[in-house]
């Protein structure tokens, strides 16, 4: 117990002298920080490949003939599947070259569409990943991004279809901000409960998730249902003026939301690392007791962090509605909220890292659709790979022992979490 006290004192001193330990970590070279996530991704893809080979009937049949032909068949299957994944997500290089040679704008667009579609898939991931990362940086585990995303999407949808006659430059931002506000409100509740009663945000956000699912289910089959949808839980289509513009004609869905996401990521970075607010949030996140000694209002900080995190989650829902779907259905999210936990951790809870990991998973998810068509491998394999990567990123010791890496000199600070019974 005594060394715990010393620790607090040390952190407090660092804080006073302006040498927050968080800053020190930033000085590490990029490769040193990226090596664990990169090896985790590699290992995840290798295990995915093994899964593909192990569940293929033709591989088993080939192994029945001889071990050699078994391995060669397995290799062939993996190559077919993963090259389908690559061409599905990044385009066929041959086709892109040919299109560029032909100088036909339409052909070029079609050839690079897979890349653009990967960016479309990555967009909600960036928002959701930022939401989780901002929470982690502030010492909060926002596992309720999924619910906040649904509420944000519902708010954006409502503003999107119910208001008419507004010009697009007002209606579209209004609908987007409505989404952010919805998500922020949904996250503020657990933040408030944590600050005022100590109820742990993990449990409360999980509960809020399920309340959000039921609420949107009711909204879409009741007050917000599309006339003539025949009882299907489906919202009306939003007005043209509320839509986030897409850059190209119909089959290409690439939209401005991607750039909004990048801008918001920059904003989050600026807020977290360049402002006093951000420093306060991070101090409360790294050591709440030291923060309290330093005279920071931890309760306010918690509520602020949750609200901002929820706003980002709400934007993830809003951007999907306003730019891609144009109406809300129950199958809005393919688990963005839970994926975002992996994204934030793989990206080291840094906005730039989140963008990179979001691009990776947007690409994987987009390519998996093509892989399903070519090799009949269910798209769910992305979830499996994702879980494995998350596991390795969360437990770097496993990766280090696989690849015989040396231990780092200083222990990585871990996202901490105490029990959830209400003691703070």
């Amino acid at each position: 117990m005594s060394e715990e006290k010393k620790d607090i004192g040390q952190v407090f001193l660092d804080e006073v002298n302006g040498e927050a330990p968080v800053e020190e970590k930033q000085k590490k070279p990029f490769l040193g920080k990226a090596i664990i996530p990169l090896l985790a991704i590699l290992t995840g893809l290798i295990i995915g490949a093994i899964l593909i080979a192990a569940t293929s009937q033709s591989v088993w049949a080939a192994f029945g003939e001889s071990i050699g032909s078994g391995f060669s068949q397995a290799w062939k299957e993996i190559i077919t599947a993963y090259s389908a994944l690559l061409t599905g997500s990044l385009g066929d290089p041959g086709r892109i070259l040919r299109a560029l040679g032909s100088n036909d704008a339409r052909q070029i667009r079609q050839a690079v569409n897979p890349i653009l579609e990967s960016l479309v898939q990555a967009t909600p991931y960036i928002f959701a990943g930022l939401a989780v990362a901002l929470g982690f940086r502030s010492g909060l585990f926002n596992i309720g991004v999924e619910g906040q995303l649904f509420i944000g999407a519902a708010c954006a949808t409502y503003v999107g279809y119910s208001i008419t006659g507004l010009p697009a430059y007002i209606h579209m931002p209004l609908a987007f901000l409505a989404g952010a506000a919805g998500g922020a409100f949904w996250a503020f509740i657990p933040g408030f409960l944590k600050a005022k009663t100590g109820g742990h945000e993990v449990i409360n956000t999980i509960m809020m998730n399920w309340i959000a699912f039921r609420l949107t289910e009711w909204l879409l089959s009741g007050p917000m249902t599309r006339p003539g949808s025949g009882g299907l839980p489906l919202s009306p289509i939003i007005q043209e003026t509320a839509r986030i513009p897409q850059f190209f004609a119909s089959p290409i869905r690439f939209h401005m939301g991607f750039f909004i996401a990048l801008a918001i990521a920059w904003l989050v970075w600026w807020l977290l690392f360049k402002t006093t607010w951000g420093l306060n949030l991070r101090t409360v996140g790294t050591n709440p007791r030291a923060a309290r000694y330093a005279g920071l209002n931890t309760g306010k900080s918690i509520m602020l962090a949750m609200t901002l995190s929820g706003a980002l989650a709400g934007m993830a829902g809003a951007v999907q509605i306003l730019a891609v779907n144009h109406s809300m259905a129950l199958g809005l999210s393919s688990g963005y909220g839970f994926d975002s936990i992996a994204l934030a951790l793989i990206g080291n809870n840094h906005p730039l890292g989140v963008i990179l990991s979001s691009l990776l998973f947007g690409t994987l998810r987009n390519g998996a659709t093509r892989m399903m068509v070519v090799s009949a491998i269910p798209i769910d394999i992305v979830d499996v790979i994702q879980a494995i990567i998350l596991m390795f990123v969360a437990a770097p010791a496993i990766i280090r022992s696989i690849y015989r890496l040396r231990k780092p000199k200083q222990e990585e600070p871990q996202v901490f979490l105490s029990g959830w019974g209400g003691q703070s």
């Binding site: 449990i203 999980i206 499996v384």
Partner: protein
Amino acid sequence: MTTTSNVIQHKRIHEISPARKLGIGISEVVIAVLIFFVFALNTAADLTTRFVMTPGGITQGTLRDIVLPSKTTLFILAAIVLAIGIFQLIRGFGKQTNLLVGVAGICLMLAFLVWQAAGMSLNLAGMLSSAVLLAVPITLGAFSGILAERSGIINISIEGMMLMASMTAAVAGSLSRNVWVGMLGGIASAVLLALILGVLSIKYKVNQTISGTVINIFSTGMTGFISQKFLQTIPGLNQPVMFSRVPLPLLADIPLIGPILFNQNIFVYLMMIILIVLQLALFQTRWGLRLRSVGEHPKAADTLGINVIRTRYMGVILSGVVAGIAGTFFTLGSVGRFDEGMTAGKGFIGLAAMIFGNWMPVGSLGAGLLFGFADAIGSKLSLLGSVIPPQFMAMAPYLITMIVLAGFIGKGQAPAAEGEPYEKE
């Protein structure tokens, strides 16, 4: 230092603070007012509510229907709750406060049913019987949570373990044509996941919520993958044999209670057996004391010679066993085939039931039954032509849990060392 503060905290929950006394009293009066003004005054005087007291298709332990005059019944229920509330405000019930809150809650539910079914007939026994069945995965999920959390490991992957177990049970049950093999297969898969949770949280000291999330994502992906790759293309893999209804001799003949509790399938009996074993083992045996001490104060437990690491592994693995049983319920005890995502958040409601039940087996059963009942009412509401959407009923468990967690009804007491990896010095 921590020990003394814990002792103080434990003491506090047994006393009822004046603010809580007032708050509970006022809520009870509000319930009474609600029953009186919303339910009773909106019911025509000549209506009766008929409660059918035997579940459909049951021949043992039958009971005659009960016909109640709707309006009078509602007045009486309002009066009972009002009396409880006023007594609470003036004198207070002391230790019995929570019990009386429960009585008021039951009165509210009964009043709601009388009001909704005024002029109609409602199969109350059938509803209770299905509530018990719906409570099985929730309660077992809560037991699974208790086993892990009492040893100091947060387990939010109950849902994932249940999902994996339900799929494995479907495959094992289909291949072997034997329910027990199916069940064992399901349990084995859940235990495997529990082992991963244990290794990540105990050995590698990964944040336990993240380890749980890993397992949840993995299970969703893996079950979806296998289901699409194999179960949907090879139908023989997804037709498990099911556990059938087993009426217990003599007990099943008790009117009302017999059909509801003792004429069910094996999972309901398993739930009761695990309840008794768990309650006794946790609080009456040396094993239970050790498990709890590891969850409350691992350092002290270690000083006394208890192997903290081994005890935590045991807690997590047993948690996996129980979550596995809960998962096999879906395929072998309820639906008879595996569907993607078929656990539909029951694991998380189980977590809620555990918190509502204050990390106690008996309390969790109560919470599980309550949530199961809310589920059963929800599915009946639309049949009764109710104005209340069934989704709102389905929200109830989550809302109640948040209220409990915020300390409005009575603060739960989580194991003190929960979520903290143990480092031996």
